[in-house]
């Protein structure tokens, strides 16, 4: 019985969260603007998790992650807006078109991730970081050259399909998938590479292969997040996805704590909401980024490993012992260390 509850409780929690927010909206405690801030926070959480997979769990420093986001944003928007005509899509086709767009965004980003991952992931540490930075900027420069999608002026008139429910759904899905990834052979291989690449290699782990898997997987998630973003903003532009965006994402990740999904959620949420919240204090408006910056520096000085510093909420962990619980699927078994011998 216990495992069943453990599996269902989080899902119930998410549903409850959704209805709570909708209720707060209906009694005007939250307005659509607040909800929109939460939607951006959701997108940022997805981006942070994606970055965490590469930086936090595989130890490969990617500092141009906004590049993947932009590919997803453009890929998805091209599908929904240019191929299917944006606002003129028949109402009953909107959701399929939207999902198709997101899938396209994810695939484009993933494919590019594969393409650039193969040559660059051979580089180590800072050099890899720098190449990913360059990659992000080259993507931006390329998008700026393509006239049919508005070049540097950007793409307008993207239908605002993304709503809070979609964002919540994708954030939860990302969390589940990322958690499962981490607690599997793939995740372990990635962590091994992070902890000691030479040893990983010597233990028969094809380091290049697993780096690429993690990179492509993360790029796919970033692409989907980019697609969601485009359909909140209804406007995208290459310059939105500049190095500044990438470094914002890094900030969410490291302030939250690498190697912890809880940290990604916390970092993405807090640091998206904080500057927006400061906006509402009229005379602080000019100081809001200063306050944000000081907060960030203080977090890093007092918690150099980030707010969560490698710690994880039990919900986002897969405990080894669970393997031996009577699962809802299989009939086994007892943990070997508990068998008397």
């Amino acid at each position: 019985m216990k495992p069943l509850i453990r599996k269902l409780l989080p899902i119930l929690g998410v549903v409850a969260l959704y209805y709570l927010i909708m209720y707060l909206k209906s009694i005007k405690v939250m307005n659509p603007y607040h909800i929109q801030v939460l939607m951006f926070a959701g997108v940022n959480i997805m981006m942070t998790i994606s970055l965490n997979i590469v930086n936090g769990f595989t130890g490969q420093f990617c500092i141009g992650h906004a590049g993947f986001m932009s590919l997803g944003a453009y890929g998805a928007s091209i599908v929904t807006t240019m191929i299917f005509g944006g606002f003129s899509v028949a109402p009953n086709l909107r959701i399929p078109v939207f999902l198709l767009g997101l899938l396209a965004g994810g695939l484009v980003a993933g494919a590019v991730g594969l393409l650039i991952g193969i040559p660059t992931l051979k580089l180590k540490g800072d050099y890899l970081a720098i190449v990913t930075l360059a990659f992000g900027e080259i993507v931006r420069a390329t998008l700026r050259l393509i006239e049919p999608i508005g070049a540097a002026r950007g793409m307008i008139g993207i239908p605002p399909y993304t709503n809070f429910a979609w964002v919540l759904f994708f954030v939860v899905l990302t969390l589940i998938v990322a958690r499962n990834f981490i607690y599997s052979k793939h995740g372990r291989a990635c962590i091994a590479i992070r902890d000691n690449e030479i040893a990983a290699d010597a233990m028969g782990i094809n380091t290049t292969k697993y780096k690429i898997i993690s990179f492509v997987f993360a790029a796919f998630i970033a692409g989907v997040a980019g697609g969601l973003y485009a359909h909140i903003m209804s406007f995208i532009q290459p310059d939105t996805f500049s190095f500044v965006k990438s470094s914002d994402l890094l900030v969410y990740l490291y302030a939250g704590g690498t190697g912890s999904l809880t940290g990604s959620v916390l970092g993405g949420l807090l640091l998206t909401v904080l500057p927006e919240a400061l906006r509402t204090f009229g005379n602080l408006v000019n100081w809001r980024i200063v306050i944000y910056a000081v907060t960030l520096v203080i977090i890093m000085l007092y918690r150099p490993l980030g707010l969560c510093g490698g710690k994880e909420l039990p919900l986002l962990k897969i405990n080894r012992k669970h393997l031996y619980e009577k699962s809802i699927f299989s009939k086994k078994s007892v943990h070997p260390s508990e068998t008397p011998n």
Partner: protein
């Protein structure tokens, strides 16, 4: 042909700005092992500081320009001042993280950069708007075989080479230089050699920030517009320049800076959108073939 030469002049002019900024990146990276993302903002502080200094000295100006002595005084003050700010930033924000994971310091640097840009921005007497940078000294233009050159350009290019030459010799030939290199490899062991690593790191930041200020003054002299955000993008490009040359190597920073400046101008002449990205393309190409940049040496971990 003369157009090409003209472009080369513009390339060198831009390149000297990148090069000076890249020197700071390279020094700090080489010695402290961190990418100081706030480095570009030292450029802004230098330029903005010069702007205010020039205002303060405006009673000495004749026809809007200043005498050589006053200019030298202004530049010196701006460089030293920025250098000291660099030392202060290190002491407050980076020093406590010295033995922490690299990325923590990097993120702190992002925070510092936001602070350095937005603090003056929030101050009423500075604010976010661009200002026009005063002409500090009169510039003369002359033509050599159809190529326009100005005295400002010559001063810039020559001075940046001089700075690099001095710095190179300091790092490779002096005692403080060898202390810097020791710090760069193993701070504990360096201390056991009797090296005061705090002093070495402070000096490093001082030099880096002062050179950034110089590059800021140069930059503002040729593009006379200063604002609190001017350092960000220039910083990123100069950092790329430093890596192209081989980060950690002084000559490499200089080389990378000039490569960046010249290719940017040449690529712009093909298509304006290319100029902006060419540096990044060059970077990737170079790293694929020389994984540590042109002058950099990749060290192999002995297993």
């Amino acid at each position: 042909m003369s157009t090409l030469m003209q472009f080369l002049v513009y390339g060198l002019q831009l390149g000297s700005v990148y090069a000076l900024l890249a020197l700071g990146y390279t020094m700090v990276y080489g010695i402290v092992g961190m990418i100081n993302f706030a480095h570009g903002d030292f450029l802004m502080i230098g330029a903005l500081g010069t702007f205010f200094l020039a205002q303060a000295f405006s009673s000495f100006a004749v026809n809007g320009t200043y005498s050589g002595l006053i200019v030298a005084l202004i530049l010196f003050t701006a460089m030293v001042g920025t250098g000291l700010i660099g030392v202060g930033v290190e002491a407050i924000a980076y020093k406590p993280l010295r033995n922490r994971p690299k990325m923590s310091a990097l993120i702190t640097a992002v925070g510092v950069s936001m602070f350095l840009e937005n603090f003056p921005r929030a101050l009423p007497f500075i604010g976010p708007s661009p200002r026009s940078f005063p002409m500090l000294f009169p510039t003369k233009r002359f033509q050599i075989q159809g190529v326009m050159i100005s005295t400002t350009q010559i001063i810039m290019i020559v001075l940046s080479l001089v700075f690099m030459f001095i710095l190179y010799n300091v790092v490779n030939r002096t005692k403080i230089g060898s202390q810097m290199r020791a710090c760069s490899m193993d701070k504990d062991a360096a201390q056991l050699m009797g090296i005061n690593i705090n002093r070495v790191i402070s000096i490093t930041f001082f030099i880096g920030a002062a050179l950034a200020a110089a590059s800021g003054i140069f930059y503002a002299s040729i593009y006379p517009q200063v604002d609190v955000y001017m350092g960000g993008w220039l910083g990123t490009k100069s950092f790329i320049a430093a890596v192209i040359g081989g980060i950690g190597d002084i000559r490499g920073a200089m080389l990378g800076g000039f490569i960046m400046g010249i290719t940017e101008i040449l690529a712009t002449s093909v298509n304006s959108n290319l100029g902006y990205a060419i540096g990044f393309v060059i970077l990737i190409l170079i790293l694929l073939f020389k994984p540590a940049g042109i002058m950099g040496k990749l060290t192999i971990d002995k297993v």
